[in-house]
Symmetry: C2
Subunit: 229 residues, 2 copies
DNA sequence: ATATAGTGTGTATTTTTTACACTAAGTAAT
DNA sequence: ATTACTTAGTGTAAAAAATACACACTATAT
């Protein structure tokens, strides 16, 4: 298959921006690096692409190795290719994002010594990140802001069963503004991707809210909202 | 600056999908290759990224070398990273698109022997393309479809001065469907980015249409249309 | 003068978006 | 059991946006 090898002009890496929602907070998954450069710094989970895997496969593998998470569907959103973005040489990085339900259950355990640990960190209290990862994160946040306005993708952040107020909280956190309760409910239900359950919220010291779940089938049929001519 | 070179795991290339509108047709810029692999095939203008240029810079340079075009603002839209997409080895490619006004004036002249020629080709009569370029093109077309519904970016395809009917033609070609004339005009003017000129279309054997031009300042302020909550 | 071909325009209807405030239900404390 | 507290849950009117729809105008060519 390989006749003439192309010149290798840059290494290629993956960086992952994983958003999670927990305890009313929007969080992002970071690792504490155990290798130079930026040893002991916080950074996005990322590493070099392998020679025998597609970039999509690579993203899943790298995320798994650094955090122990698997079966996370991530979407590619941008490739960062400034010449000096990596201090040790030319590395072009392909960025992925995903939105995730956090449940406390899944423990984060790096499977390699490349990361000391992986941790969910509130986006409002981000530490200084290595490389150009702050920039990559910023673009990722922009991306999901646009995204949740087109597809009601934010359900991925929620537990299996959730209340409408929780959904609204997620939207408000991502968009960074308050929304009207009645209008929000009308709208979100109008997408037709939520199924009302016979069940109520438990363990609260006030009127329990109805639980809903997300209908993946109907969701799959939804496409972006667009200007109509 | 470089302390430890990262492993080179893949080469990185750029491919450009340039859309142009001319003579009522939506066209795309292709080159006829003069090098293996796919010698004598049509392909998207593309080549390897240089070590001392960002991917954005690279895209401009490569386009220039293969077609003679310069000062084209291109936007990155996706990175294709399947393992075997290039028959000679691992090459991950970053795809860019742009929309361009065609005027016949600018001649296309490859500045390197890598391409025999560059030519605008009607998207309805695309030849078989080398590599996975058909796929890259398809994704690019999807991208601009979504794009023109959010920003009235389609003006980039039109000459300096144009009629509303021309604008409508472009939209109909890209979206692949007929639009209502009165509603289209109402909508497109409502964006407030068109300036009506005192001038009329020339050289037609029927009532001449009013010419408009595009107001870049107002355009810059426009952002995507979004779901409101 | 007439045929032709594209230009240019308005209104009524429907749908979507927005703004806005009170009652209902469950828990906890007394 | 009454009360206080806290969040859940609901409707309507007004404004804005989207849609559907048809004919007269005007420049040119013959």
């Amino acid at each position: 298959m390989k006749e003439v090898l192309p010149v290798f002009n840059s290494a290629v890496s993956i960086d992952c921006v994983l958003f999670g929602f927990d305890n009313g907070e929007l969080k992002i998954l970071l690792i504490e690096r155990n290798e130079e450069p930026f040893k002991d710094w916080w950074a996005l989970p990322g590493n070099l692409v392998g020679e025998d895997e597609s970039v999509d496969q690579s993203a899943s593998r790298i995320l798994h190795e650094l955090t122990g998470l698997s079966d996370i569907y991530m979407e590619q959103y941008y490739t960062f290719g400034e010449v000096s973005r990596h201090p040790q040489g030319r590395v072009i990085t392909v960025a992925y994002y995903a939105m995730l339900r956090l449940g406390g259950d899944k423990a984060l355990k790096p499977l390699t010594s490349y990361a000391k640990k992986a941790q969910w960190i509130n986006v409002k209290e981000l530490p200084k990140l290595g490389f150009d990862h702050q920039h990559i994160f910023d673009k990722g946040l922009e991306k999901i802001k646009r995204r949740i306005k087109h597809l009601p993708i934010a359900f991925e952040l929620l537990p299996e069963k959730f209340t409408l107020t929780q959904v609204q909280n997620v939207y408000e956190l991502i968009l960074g503004k308050k929304l009207d309760k009645r209008n929000f409910r009308k709208k979100i239900l109008s997408f037709g991707v939520l199924k009302e359950l016979d069940e109520k919220q438990k363990g609260v010291s006030f009127r329990a809210a109805t639980l809903y779940k997300f209908d993946r089938r109907k969701y799959a049929k939804l496409f972006g909202k667009e200007i109509s001519f």
